[in-house]
Symmetry: C3
Subunit: 428 residues, 3 copies
């Protein structure tokens, strides 16, 4: 009975039309062109590499997509247990009529052809969106993205700011900033003006969020312009900033972003806890890890200083989830946001989803985002989440608290979709 | 069958008459006088504030209780998913004959009247105690509490010491100490004498525990009187102590408390991990959070130095629970104590309860305390715990280890009540 | 149905013949000689001590085994809830025909006699191995172990290196090293030569792993010989090294070990997170605890520097498990290894096992090791693990992903046995 209840709730949740509030979709090429786009997702390349496939085999220059798939399929055996593999199978079944239990050196070629044929259809993107019941997709745009050539009501721009906060000392970043805004970042005043321009550009093109990923030791603080002027001058003259100067500059820029979010009424997505390039010989996008020794208490000054800014927060370490629950329970401007990366597996989603539903106001929870690079991934990833959500709604609410299924589903819909609309201002 | 088993065990556990080993009850006004006392509990005010209700609306001076309830009820919608809301409904049903599924702007007034009428009964306190099967209730008394005017065998005094350890530099605290003990805290010797007086006063009035809440970075150490004499003198002359002096003084006073606990044979309740005033604009009692980066290893010197003192320990971060399990497994004087505050939700209680029952001697576990401010809360809070306990006993012991239900219930009763009696010396 | 499914999978997993990849078995006395060998296991002595039995009663000099058992049995009552007690009962039932539900002062003597009689059989060791379906057993050998007098194909040597890394300043350790290798550790060069000799000795006697346990704050780094030469000279002349020198020396030796593991193609078992002697008055082997504030990121240099060395990693804090999962998912040379000590209880094994199976390549997971001191413990400990594994395979794979039972069992066998063979090179 409990199993049937879960299945019923899952089916209803499956019918909810989605807005995906965080992805890495390229709006000029949103869907896959071959199976290589799917198997090239870093989850597969890094797991195959972890299982034994040499990086050089995966990232060989000019590797034809077909050969790339052949090589990766050879190493899928050891990954069959992973949840990421289950996404792959689900995509192959739903989109490419795959019927086998496993993708192997024996059966991949037929699939490759079928997928290529389907993907060649002129309306493939629309087919995928339709089949996935996906209405809108948030992007992750570089700060100097022209935001042109695509429908910003379907593909919602989002200002990604890691480069500005953490890499402003790099000549390439400064040049991109100057080119995008007309301001050289040679003083706090000019940098502030440049950041203002970016917000103007983005909000005038329909951007609905500012976003950044942050290392475990980052601790935002207000910094005066005077405190960074000498550093900005030094950088402009070609001197490497010290570790101290770099940290102070990062804090200055970060605080500027928060101020602009207040001014332009943009939510500020914080994705907390990633250490970049820990495994330096890893595959592309498969080099980052984390340090669980981090705390949301590091953000107390920020949350106190910007009550008017909403901070949708993702945490990389599952051990940070309780802090996220508690901060969302206490701070009106903190909301929970999805299940990020290394926490994005059912064992952790389940615990995190349960604790959030038990202790955070229902209106302050963004249930899930796909983080995908290609549209085909929304379906299996959201489905994984919907399974967990259905199970938690069944056990904790329908059985545990005697709620009607209708009421449990209302809560599910709010978390899956309603909150995304309201928090990112998409209903207007 | 498993569901029926759990229900059977739960019903049996419900019949256990309780001693609540930690509350904030005011023994001169233990029960609620109106629904405002219940909805004014910080769990509701902070969650309503988190969901959008302005602090000024909740804490407006001279706000009549009825209007306070009206305002809070308007914001209950987003909280219906929370476990705290389920406590509210359970109280309304059990105590005030409420029969609806939700408390809304449409139906609250009738409830308000009914509650007021019931609470006006001269024996309301006794009715609540009786219905909740609550026999004794531990208090949280300021160090200068006269402990007069109530029955100390029902309301058990407990010496709360946060002010002494962390706020001794405040003139108001020093004056209260002098008034309560006759000693000015101008030297280590006088301070020690003052603390001794407090223990005499409390133990002669039936106190059964000393208690304190501690920040995540606290690390107890023995400190000589010589090391704090200059600080005490400086404070007395009006100088602000430095951060270093403050820390040393806190350690000195804390160690004094442990020594008096040994002398007066009082358990020393440690509630570890709270950061005070993190959200400064939060509602009353809704400003505190925590930092998960803390460790019970910080208490090694204390546990080694006082083998004769029992330390019932509560941890605020769920990530500290395994350390608590392991320290209780190794140190004879460390016992697990309840599920505190941000860890007091079923998702975490379940995991913590399972791990404790699997690895800590049964005699060293205090299952639960309510932490309540008004008597009505014991019923729903303990019931939440008893549901989890029944479920763990059913799955891990009756099903998992083939225990009889009788035997599983013996374990449940020990954890719920027997250990409280023995550890706090209430059986004599 | 789900219950029957789990039982079916469990029975099949029970039939897998085991290699136990980490124990503390003494190959010259692998099985117990009396019940005192079993009840003398530190899990029972420390839990009985924690519950109230004085250390002096347990460790009284010349205590006859029978009397030791009598004293411990008196304190088993409070431990009946623990999973460790369930191991005890399972051993008594399986090996000594015990039929009661509890081991008490009333019934222990008959059991003691029966056990003694069975253990006196000349083939007792073989009986235990056979009944436990245990084929090979990894040892934990001191670096100066002669590795003589036993069958190294059954009892596989393993070079344990804690003393070398953390206690090289102790005269006794240096003397043992000199005696074992012919080199005095008076310079980096000589120390390197000595370590090389140890690897030669061990690998020529069939060693299949190097192993070490590490404190939470250890952070490996390459250190030049020049940087430790003065320290080694100072130690040789009788001066105590400073804390800094000790840390640098530990890093030097540790890095040497990793280099030799590369040279001799030995996996390097890292057991991360233990603080030694936290409870100084605790019973033998019952004094150690941990600090959850540790991170695998501390090992980034090591994992990057030695891609050719496999690092089977155990973590003591359950909060470290997600880092272990993620590092094993990213680093080809990192594999998950068992459920260690304070994490070795079903509540934590279940969560850890699920997350590993969901996100780490199947070939990179060593499911379990017993950590036992006497052979009788493999049966109940592996059985506990197999129960959890069967449950996870049933729920997450057969039910959750529609796998056939056959396929789920293949995964179970790989994790239980196949990976041990391959990772430690036992198939050749």
């Amino acid at each position: 009975m409990s199993h049937e209840l879960k299945t019923r709730l899952f089916r209803e949740l499956e019918s909810v039309v989605l807005i995906d509030p965080h992805t890495h979709i390229n709006p000029l090429a949103p869907a896959s062109k071959s199976l290589a786009d799917i198997l090239g997702y870093h989850y597969y390349t890094e797991l195959a590499h972890s299982a034994g496939l040499a990086r050089g085999k995966i990232e060989e220059p000019n590797l034809p997509p077909r050969e790339k798939v052949r090589r990766l399929v050879e190493w899928l055996g050891p990954l069959e247990n992973t949840i990421q593999y289950s996404w792959l199978l689900e995509m192959c079944r739903e989109f490419f009529d795959f019927e086998d239990d496993r993708l192997t050196p024996r059966n991949w070629e037929g699939l490759y052809e079928r997928a290529a044929a389907k993907m060649a259809a002129p309306d493939w993107e629309a087919q995928v969106l339709d089949k996935s019941r996906l209405e809108r997709v948030f992007l992750t745009n570089d700060f100097d993205d022209p935001l042109a050539g695509f429908d910003t009501s379907r593909y919602v721009p989002c200002l990604r700011t890691d480069d500005l906060v953490f890499h402003l000392a790099k000549p390439a970043v400064r040049q991109r900033l100057e080119k995008a805004t007309g301001f050289e970042a040679t003083s706090a005043t000019r940098l502030t003006a440049a950041v203002g321009r970016l917000f103007e550009h983005f909000t005038s093109h329909g951007a609905r969020a500012c976003a950044i990923s942050l290392p475990p030791d980052f601790e935002p603080q207000p910094v005066t312009g005077d405190a960074v002027d000498p550093t900005l001058k030094a950088i402009a003259s070609g001197r490497e900033p010290s570790a101290d100067e770099t940290r102070t500059l990062a804090r200055f820029v970060f605080w500027q972003l928060a101020e602009r979010c207040a001014e332009y009424r943009l939510p500020f997505d914080l994705m907390i806890g990633v250490n970049r390039r820990v495994y330096e010989e890893g595959v592309f996008q498969g080099q980052d890890l984390f340090d669980q020794r981090t705390s949301l208490v590091q953000y107390r000054r920020l949350f106190n200083a910007f009550p008017q800014v909403t901070f949708p927060i993702s945490v990389l370490a599952q051990t940070s989830n309780q802090e996220l629950v508690s901060h969302s329970w206490i701070f009106p401007n903190v909301v929970t946001n999805g299940h990020w990366w290394y926490s994005n597996i059912p064992a952790y989603i389940e615990l995190d989803c349960r604790s959030r539903l038990q202790a955070v106001p229902a209106t302050k929870q963004i249930g899930y985002y796909s983080d995908m690079y290609k549209l085909e991934f929304a379906l299996p990833k959201f489905r994984m989440y919907r399974r967990v959500l259905a199970s938690v709604l069944a056990e904790d609410f329908v059985v545990g608290r005697n709620w009607s299924e209708t009421r449990a589903l209302e809560l599910g819909r709010l978390v899956l979709r309603g909150n995304v609309e309201r928090i990112f201002g998409l209903t207007g």
